[in-house]
Symmetry: C2
Subunit: 110 residues, 2 copies
């Protein structure tokens, strides 16, 4: 993890997640007027239905707001959504057709 | 890649990128009123300054709108921003301190 006054970078599995102060992101992007909640979600895939419930409970316990209590989407599996304190949406999902390897990499499947 | 009427999934390096029809995302998330441009950017890291210019040119040629022409951010490196036709921001960045391995995985560095 790296942190300064403008951004925190988290080393993820093959990518970085950065949480940018909004004014700093707007300055870097050269565009103001960014709005929330934006038309996106960050999804975190886990390996079981129980792990979805546990992660959602942990996020809500840490100050998140439940948007959708976990249930079964049309293709199957199990997922719920929580808004973080900045109103960004996080999906926590278990999809039995999607493989998650030992290093946490997710592979699409049907 | 997987595509239906609601979503397209792209297999990325260890994760999935999904482009969701907004109404379908709102139904799945159980929250309406998502707005654009949202307070986020998707960043794609490349291995050279020339690759930043090439990627930005390709995105603009495909219908993207330049937000910031590539230049040098305060920490060094080189980056620009393009809005896609749905007004989502994409950053294309070269950061010489960030390693990119043969499989495209990015590791933070200073």
């Amino acid at each position: 993890m790296f942190e300064n006054e403008e951004i925190i970078f988290y080393q993820m599995n093959g990518l970085m997640l950065g949480t940018f102060a909004q004014a700093s992101l707007e300055a870097d992007m050269n565009r103001g007027g960014l709005v929330r909640p934006g038309a996106f979600a960050l999804a975190h895939n886990v390996e079981s239905k129980a792990a979805v419930d546990a992660a959602i409970a942990r996020l809500v316990g840490a100050g998140g707001t439940s948007l959708r209590k976990p249930d079964v989407p049309p293709p199957g599996g199990y997922r719920g959504y929580v808004a973080d304190p900045d109103d960004h949406a996080w999906e926590i999902a278990w999809n039995p057709a999607w493989a998650i390897d030992a290093e946490g990499r997710v592979t699409f499947g049907l």
